[in-house]
């Protein structure tokens, strides 16, 4: 064992003179940094700020007495995400076991003395596990996932709207923005991709132009433009900033979805269309039932990557005055009482972003494996 690891070390870390140099500088450097970070986290850091400001981090300035609305939204999101996971990753008993420590961790973070929150966290995790288990045990349920997501998002809007959409914030806002953008940009992107291949040149030009323009400008620019344009274009509606931000994100990311879908459409062999045509199927049926499913299959991994991209870009909504997760952290630090807790708050933000990002990446991997197995 020791001999083998010595051999591995020699081979991989001290094989060539340059490797020796690199190993001798990098390894101690990294170890020193890890040591510093851990010792700070365990001794110097004052973590009490996290449970104290957790509500703001999670839901921003949403009124505390209306928090139950946010909880309903969170539970709906948990069911939908669980069901999405269940489509590709079978739920097993040991997973239920693994969710218990997750619950314990979240409960510890929220403060165990607050019994209501501990219970609500349990409900959320149970909802997640429930969605996961149902979708993995009963395959027909999966077909309903897309309509269910639409209904779920509408329900969330209905529940969260009364106190005022201007109050939405925190991690919940980041997640909602990501979900709405991901769910809406998919059908729009698919339509754009087909439009770009249309035999009507007018439609083809419009779609191509739209996609190219969106892909040539920064997201933050599109979001800002949409935000200032909507009140001019639809003065009678007075749409909330949140909704305008979601529209901006959706319009921007639809162009990217369209490009992914287009590459998938190109990957479907001509023979598929020809066979369907020779059977007398209409072009609409051919696109919907033969071409699109095969195209989507190819591009599911990049589409999931796109969701991660949306989530990581969500902080940009500060430009239109929204308080997403990152901005909520900064807001807490703006309070003079907490001015010296920068590192604690940013560590928490970093870890949370990292965890959510890893989760999405993990799902993408599973999806890839799942699809590779299915296509043969």
């Amino acid at each position: 064992m020791i001999a083998r690891s010595l051999k591995w070390t020699r081979h991989n870390l001290f094989g060539k003179p340059f490797d020796v140099l690199l190993s001798l500088t990098v390894i101690p450097g990294v170890l020193w940094m890890v040591y510093q970070a851990v010792s700070w986290a365990l001794t110097a850091a004052r973590w009490d700020i996290i449970p104290q400001s957790l509500r703001v981090l999670m839901i921003g300035v949403f009124p505390a007495d209306q928090a139950w609305r946010a909880w309903i939204a969170i539970v709906i999101i948990a069911i939908l995400l669980g069901a999405a996971l269940g489509c590709v990753f079978a739920f097993k008993g040991r997973h239920a076991g693994a969710l218990v420590p997750v619950w314990a961790g979240c409960a510890a973070l929220a403060g165990i003395e607050n019994v209501t929150n501990v219970l609500l966290i349990a409900v959320t995790i149970a909802a997640f596990a429930g969605g996961w288990a149902v979708a993995s045990r009963f395959p027909p349920v999966r077909k309903a996932l897309v309509p269910a997501s639409f209904i779920g998002l509408i329900a969330i809007f209905a529940v969260m709207a009364p106190p005022g959409a201007g109050l939405w914030g925190g991690l919940l806002l980041s997640i909602l923005l990501t979900l709405v953008t991901a769910v809406l940009s998919l059908p729009i992107g698919i339509l754009l991709a087909f439009g770009r291949r249309s035999r009507f040149s007018g439609l083809r030009w419009i779609c191509t132009g739209y996609i190219e323009v969106m892909r040539s400008v920064p997201l933050i620019m599109v979001v800002y433009w949409i935000w200032i344009l909507i009140p001019v274009l639809t003065p009678q509606f007075n749409l909330a900033d949140v909704v305008r931000g979601m529209i901006g994100f959706t319009l921007f990311y639809s162009a990217y979805v369209a490009e992914y879908v287009r590459s998938g459409l190109q990957a479907v062999p001509r023979g598929q269309t020809e066979a369907a045509r020779s059977l007398g199927m209409s072009e609409f049926d051919i696109n919907r039932s033969i071409v699109l499913p095969q195209a989507i299959r190819v591009v599911v991994p990049p589409l999931v990557g796109n969701v991660l991209d949306i989530f990581n870009m969500a902080p940009l909504v500060f430009i239109i005055g929204l308080t997403d997760f990152l901005r909520a952290g900064q807001m807490i630090l703006a309070n003079p009482q907490f001015g010296d807790r920068t590192y604690e708050v940013y560590s928490f933000l970093f870890l949370t972003y990292f965890l959510v990002g890893s989760l999405i990446t993990f799902v993408a991997r599973k999806l890839e494996a799942h699809l590779a197995r299915g296509s043969r």
């Binding site: 062999p269 020809e274 066979a275 020779s278 059977l279």
Partner: protein
């Protein structure tokens, strides 16, 4: 006249490349026509014109009583006859072209359900009958990727038959198969011929051609050079090029 396909003076170009030249050809109902010719001579193009997968530029083509529109009309949206023609004309491809994301039964039932508006139960009953006919009943719920080439091609034939076509087009249906699987596909085609199906077949299987064909069409560089009964064509070809073509392919 009892012709199901009638081509008159049909011409097809790819850009400036003249691929089919003044084709005159009619196929009677119940007839089996085999199209022979060297690679690149235009065999595929010829039979793909019949169900409109390729467009022709001038001449006329009548399929099952419907006039196939020329390219110009199709570009202007005159495609209503096309749908009617395709309902009645089946096609089997060299690469099978089964739908990989659908099971064997789904492959066979989708067109009858969508195009002929049959119920699922009706369509499935027909599918199972057809699968029995091509000897694949036990594979009904597998995906195409789980079948051998010969099995896939038999499913493709069943898929076409499910639309109850009046005419079947075959474009080199055995060329992508391992030698040991060719026989099973040819057997199915033989049986179809015996049952009276009208067929236009492009193939390189000379023995099979001689056996099932009512008529052989020899095509070279886009022109039909010889038409004849199989025995006459194989034993005593009139055209010089046909003779050298046969000398080449029969040597192997």
């Amino acid at each position: 006249m009892n012709a199901i396909v009638e081509m008159k003076n049909l011409n097809k170009f790819y850009g400036s490349h003249h691929v089919l030249k003044n084709i005159d050809l009619s196929v009677e109902r119940g007839e089996v026509v085999v199209v022979l010719g060297a690679s690149g001579s235009g065999k595929s193009t010829l039979i793909r014109c019949v169900n409109g997968l390729e467009m022709y530029q001038n001449g006329s083509l009548l399929v099952d009583g419907y006039p196939m529109p020329v390219e110009e009309d199709r570009r202007l949206g005159g495609e209503s006859e096309l749908a009617a023609i395709r309902k009645g004309v089946g096609m089997v491809f060299q690469q099978f072209n089964l739908f990989p994301h659908k099971t064997v039964v789904e492959n066979i039932t989708i067109a009858p359900m969508r195009v002929r508006k049959k119920t699922r139960a009706e369509a499935e009953a027909t599918a199972l009958k057809l699968l029995d006919r091509v000897g694949l009943t036990e594979h009904a719920h597998k995906y195409p990727g789980q079948l051998s080439g010969g099995q896939q091609q038999r499913v493709a034939i069943a898929r076409s038959l499910a639309m109850e076509p009046h005419l079947m087009l075959f474009d080199e249906p055995t060329s992508a198969l391992d030698p040991e699987m060719i026989g099973e596909v040819l057997d199915v085609m033989r049986e179809l011929a015996r049952d009276g199906m009208t067929m236009m077949i492009v193939t390189h299987e000379m023995n099979f051609a001689r056996e099932v064909a009512d008529r052989i069409i020899y095509i070279d560089q886009g022109s039909i050079l010889e038409v004849g009964k199989p025995d006459a064509f194989f034993d005593n070809p009139q055209n010089e090029r046909a003779r050298s073509f046969l000398a080449r392919v029969l040597k192997h």
